[in-house]
Amino acid sequence: MSVRVQDAAFDAGAELNAFSTGDGVGAIVSFTGIVRDTDGTLAAMEIEHYPGMTERAIQAIVDDAMTRWALQDALVIHRFGRLNAGAPIMMVATKSAHRADAFAAADFLMDYLKSRAPFWKKETTADGSTWVAAKDADEDALNRW
């Protein structure tokens, strides 16, 4: 499995293709998160993280997913730093012999990365900068697993 925390941009399609190989692989699920400009006013998004803890937290979440489902591999890429609207923030991919495992594991990884990996988003518009607030729904989503 592969966990990458980086400020550099990445190519989600190239990552998907590189990940999609291997004996016995039947099902690959990917998630890509994009900097969303809800009402066309976003100048930039800044992502802060906690170097060291970030990698540990993501690795622990991936390890958990690998024990819960029959996965052949998992990939997590998460950017930090300044990103523009429309840029990929992060990507998760899972592969398995069967689609149900690949889907559930990718969904689980996203829920946990969202609320348990130490990243914080700050949005800048013409009106200034604000830290994105965590949503109750994101915390509630963890209870599904």
């Binding site: 540990r56 969202k114 914080w120 988003k121």
Partner: protein, 81 residues
């Protein structure tokens, strides 16, 4: 003990990390101690229900003991993904 602050906690306190000499037995005691020091700490820690804490890079509770801990980090709920 290295104490770190992230996101708006960092902005309110004004530094990303600092060395803190303390005899606090728990996270809550450390929060009280810091809040008593200066207004910027009191402002940052005004509502600890809006905060998370990590001890040596693992999420912990505010009543967790600090014995043996080298790094404490305070931050708002995560918003990654």
């Amino acid at each position: 003990m290295n104490v770190m602050y992230f996101a708006w906690v960092r902005e309110r306190i004004g530094v990303p990390f600092e060395d803190v000499q303390t005899t606090a037995a728990t996270v809550s005691e450390l929060v009280e101690e810091l809040s008593a020091r200066e207004d910027r700490y009191a402002a940052a820690f005004a509502d600890v229900s809006a905060l998370r804490v990590a001890l040596d890079q693992e999420l912990a509770d505010f009543d967790a003991p600090l014995a043996g801990v080298r790094e404490v980090a305070f931050f708002p709920p995560m918003t990654g993904g």
